[in-house]
Symmetry: C2
Subunit: 110 residues, 2 copies
Amino acid sequence: MEITSAVVALAALAQETRLSVYRMLVEAGPDGLAAGRLADGLSVAPASLSFHLKELLHAGLVHSRQDGRYVIYSANYEAMNALLGYLTENCCRGTTAACLPTACCEPANP
Amino acid sequence: MEITSAVVALAALAQETRLSVYRMLVEAGPDGLAAGRLADGLSVAPASLSFHLKELLHAGLVHSRQDGRYVIYSANYEAMNALLGYLTENCCRGTTAACLPTACCEPANP
DNA sequence: TCCATATTTAAACATTAGTCAAAATATTAA
DNA sequence: TTAATATTTTGACTAATGTTTAAATATGGA
């Protein structure tokens, strides 16, 4: 992963509405949710939601597909994993056993 | 984890210099690196680096400690893990077995 | 004490991001 | 075709972000 795309992805998630949308989609699973569902669930104005969904799309964090008059959004799990991998890459130069997201290195010495 | 602190952490990482600094610290391990080392390694002006380190500190992503005339920064691995956990929380409602960063859910259906 | 090194702070400036209101586009149903 | 629903686009406005230069603070050694 390139640092530029990591920055774009992180910036996309670094906003409360978008992070909420994203987490809703992560929880929803591969089937995703219609834009209107997201707008209702989060009480966001449609125009605002559309703006944020475009950011998430542009960052490659979500997919969208047209379904009749609805547009269904879903999380891009591959992108998510690539991002998490990028953040923890070469953690502690691999010297610590459990250098994974759920237990990435020991706490720093006090 | 609160959404507010997640947003602050993500915003802190959503900038090329800060992301580079952070990854350098993640790789360095608990011992950390002096500010000057980071500035040299990344060719960033000291004032600019200081600004970014403050952001990372404020976001809780790094620790700092004074060591003589140096200030040593190190990654806060607990904060990192909390953030990654927050992003993948309740992924696919738990219906998919391998719902973890290294393999978070199956790809969305095409 | 005085000087050099290490780091932070402050101020000014240009750039970018988010929100809102209004209008535009697309799809379905009557 | 007309009306209603779903979503996106545009433009205007305010606020926040990142860079640079210069000065300030702190530590260690001559």
